[in-house]
């Protein structure tokens, strides 16, 4: 195989357990986002737009939806004869088999894949962040500094710094210390989970890390400190564009709302930096005679007959007459029937909300038996995928509705289906 300057490895195996029912059957990178995208579209499009043509996607948790969504990478121009996109699940070998134990172990298990492409540099990414970044700029900084590793960082507010992996740097931007969620942060430069490594050096460290039984095989906690300990040069590369980890229900909701309130920050219309996604083959969306749509984004296949305010509506979703949808996210194929009042909801793929259902923090005598403050906050209610909700139900905000178990009697959820969606 011809030598590649840099290949990308996208970590897409995590469950994203803080998203609750949204990741019950699908991996976090495959969760719908921003009306027509899935979260992983951003990492994949960034790779394509940065000229990276060899991309490994490491999958583990519930990969069916993610695998069928990505396919052969065609939608992101990654169906190449040389390189292109490869899905890399854990595998069996003569030495046995193992799940990916940590981020570093996932790359360790694919050393052969990387060696086959013989790259000088390896870009390691998370598949679950929303941002647009030209990795070439970061690679130039990495090469100029002759670093062993370059880590993308962004400035976070000081009061939030203790929630992140923080890089302490010297005046030239060299990393001198890494602290995971420090109580008293010395810096406000948070790691974005985007790394460029010189492959030869990373390769040695991955093998050493694997042989260390005490290691948790994690880039942030083990590989980076080990590289610092060995005296390698590690560079912090500051990124100042829009970046969001959509790991919680609130941050997923907020990041969707950012597309409405601060569209210029992520700028999905940038013709020089398209975010590609798999096409849903649906017609243009239809806005009916008595419909009203304000301050919202819509995509192909949507049908609106009611009122949509400040919401993100995904392909094939339907809002029937007299229904009011406010501050909400409708995932692909979701249906909101006549007379509903939906406030601050995330409605899962193909879920049908019955007639006159009311949801939200302001609903009087709303049922509280689905309130789930482990996952939900700020009045956001989440419906899983493939649910059918009964007519006339009233629910309090901060609820989360999981699919019905077999035999469970539930007057709110009439039906639930596990779906092989696309």
């Amino acid at each position: 195989m011809p030598k590649q300057q840099m290949i990308a490895m996208i970590l897409a195996g995590g469950q994203g357990s803080r998203l609750g029912v949204l990741t019950e059957y699908i991996a976090k990178p495959a969760v719908p986002y921003g009306s027509k995208y899935r979260i992983i579209d951003f990492a994949l499009s960034n790779c394509t737009n940065s000229g990276i043509e060899t991309v490994g996607v490491l999958t583990q948790y519930s990969p069916l939806e993610l695998n069928s969504y990505i396919g052969n990478g065609y939608s992101w121009d990654l169906d190449r004869n040389i390189g292109g996109l490869s899905i890399l699940p854990p595998y069996q070998s003569l030495e046995g088999s193992d799940w990916y134990k940590g981020t570093a172990n996932a790359i360790y298990q694919n050393i052969t894949f990387i060696d086959n492409h013989n790259p000088d540099y390896v870009l390691v990414l998370s598949g679950d962040h929303i941002y647009k970044q030209d990795y070439r700029e970061m690679l130039r900084a990495h090469i100029d500094a002759e670093a062993a590793a370059t880590i993308a960082v962004r400035e976070v507010p000081w009061e939030e710094a203790s929630r992140f992996g923080i890089m302490n740097t010297d005046e030239e931007g060299n990393i001198i210390e890494f602290e995971e969620k420090p109580a008293n942060p010395k810096s406000n430069l948070a790691s974005m989970g985007v790394y460029i490594f010189s492959w030869k050096i990373l390769r040695e460290h991955l093998i050493a890390d694997e042989n260390n039984p005490d290691s948790r095989n994690d880039f942030g906690q083990n590989i980076i400190p080990a590289m610092l300990g060995d005296g390698h040069k590690l560079l912090a590369f500051t990124f100042d564009g829009y970046w969001k980890d959509v790991g919680t229900i609130f941050s997923l909701w907020e990041s969707n709302m950012d597309l409405l309130d601060r569209p210029q920050e992520i700028n999905l219309k940038d013709a020089m930096w398209r975010i590609y996604c798999r096409n849903t083959l649906q017609p243009s969306h239809y806005v009916g005679e008595n419909a009203s749509v304000t301050d919202s984004i819509l995509t192909d296949g949507v049908e609106v007959y009611g009122s949509v305010k400040h919401s993100v509506i995904s392909s094939g979703a339907v809002v029937e007459e007299g229904a009011e949808v406010t501050d909400s996210i409708l995932m692909p194929g979701a249906v909101v029937k006549k007379g509903c009042k939906i406030d601050k909801c995330i409605i899962g793929i193909d879920t049908i909300i019955g007639e006159n259902v009311e949801v939200g923090i302001a609903v009087k005598d709303g049922r509280e038996d689905f309130v789930n403050e482990k996952f939900c906050s700020d009045g956001i209610t989440v419906f899983g995928s493939g649910l059918v909700i009964a007519d006339n139900v009233k629910l309090k905000g901060n609820s989360m509705l999981f699919p019905k178990d077999e035999g469970q009697v539930c007057d709110v959820i009439l039906e639930s289906t596990v779906l092989g969606i696309i």
């Binding site: 027509k36 590609y276 017609p283 969306h285 749509v293 919202s296 819509l298």
Partner: protein, 368 residues
């Protein structure tokens, strides 16, 4: 699913003119329905019916058509064998230049190098989600030489109307735009016959120096061949004039039409553009309209079809219009019964009004 049939789609029809819309592009490449070109419907119908080897017979003005079709990947027609093949006007050699833009030799060669039993030949000016499997099956069962698809859509025919008269389901007369129609059966421009028969017909025509090929070329052989009819009562919209183009577009807004055309399990494929979702900032008013990705709608829009990437400014009023890709409507413009081609700009305060049977057409890339 058909595995032993191939398709030929005719990118142009000499009798059909769509004014400025077809000045610079083949009929097949005319934008339609917000995000499609007319040919997407015929091409997708073939693919969904299992026809995976399709020749597109291009005459002239095929640059925009080729740009749209690309390698055929959007229709899953980028195959190792078979797949999409564009058949441009044919030049046998530098020394023999065909006098006609549409020479039959290219088509003949394409058929000769194919292996399928049946060929479905279709005009491209039909908007419909057709199941060709039923059509070919009935053709096979009847033992006819040729089977032609027709319907009784007397209302929205326009011209040309290829009127067919059958006796005992055998074609006995063929009239184009008859003054006093003797039959209410109108051709839908789709015929099926065996590949070898089509090659015979072509070889005879080539030997006589003929160069015109369309579905009537086959149908007018009704005296020598057994030609039977296949009635198709599904929703079909004929595009054969500006007026029918306009009315077909407006019919997409009628209840149920969109569902019949698109929401079956057979999807209509088209070139993917990766536009951002459409934005509806505060202040807009949209009613009974189709809006596409990449649009930014601030003004008023009703009863209209808006293509991808169109921007509609504040206080503008758009009603009964078709506005194509990347056109910009500035603040305060007022348009009624207008078709605006791609990449145009309508400046602030401009007012244009056509009538439904004679819509105003603004050509591609114009500033008004």
């Amino acid at each position: 699913m058909l595995i032993d049939s191939m398709g030929i789609i005719l990118a142009d029809n000499g009798r059909v003119k769509l004014g400025e819309l077809s000045d610079e592009r083949a009929l097949a490449a005319t934008p339609f329905g917000g995000r499609y070109r007319i040919i997407d419907f015929m091409l997708s119908s073939m693919v969904n019916s299992g026809i995976k080897h399709v020749g597109i017979l291009a005459e002239t003005k095929y640059s925009s058509l080729m740009d749209h079709l690309g390698t055929g990947s959007h229709w899953d027609l980028d195959r190792l064998q078979q797949g999409l093949r564009i058949i441009p006007p044919y030049m046998q050699s530098d020394f023999f230049r065909s006098p006609n833009p549409q020479d039959l030799n290219g088509l003949y060669d394409f058929l000769k190098h194919s292996v399928h039993l049946h060929v479905v030949v279709a005009e491209s000016n039909l908007v419909s989600n057709i199941n060709f499997a039923k059509f070919v099956k009935e053709h096979e069962d009847s033992g006819a030489d040729v089977t032609v698809m027709y319907n009784h859509d007397a209302d929205s025919l326009g011209s040309p109307n290829v009127s067919l008269t059958f006796e005992d389901n055998k074609l006995v007369d063929l009239r184009i735009d008859p003054l006093n129609p003797t039959s209410d059966c109108s051709s839908l421009g789709c015929v099926v016959l065996t590949r070898t028969l089509l090659m015979d017909l072509l070889a005879q025509a080539i030997s006589r120096g003929e160069s015109l090929f369309n579905t009537e070329f086959i149908l007018e052989k009704y005296k020598e061949l057994t030609i039977r009819g296949f009635e198709n009562n599904d929703l079909t919209l004929r595009i054969n004039s500006l007026a029918t183009y306009f009315s077909a577009s407006m019919r997409l807004l009628e209840k149920g039409v969109l569902q019949k055309l698109y929401k079956s399990e057979n999807r209509i494929f088209t070139k993917v553009k990766n536009e951002a979702p459409a934005r509806y900032p505060k202040g807009n008013h949209v009613a009974n309209s189709l809006i596409s990705d990449g649009c930014n709608v601030v003004g008023q829009v009703e009863n209209s079809v808006i293509f991808r990437g169109v921007s509609i400014g504040k206080h503008s009023k758009i009603s009964n219009c078709i506005i194509m890709q990347d056109t910009v409507i500035r603040d305060g413009a007022e348009l009624k019964n207008v078709i605006i081609d791609k990449d145009s700009v309508i400046r602030s305060g401009v007012r244009l009004q056509g009538s439904p049977d004679y819509p105003v057409v603004i050509r591609k890339g114009v500033i008004v």
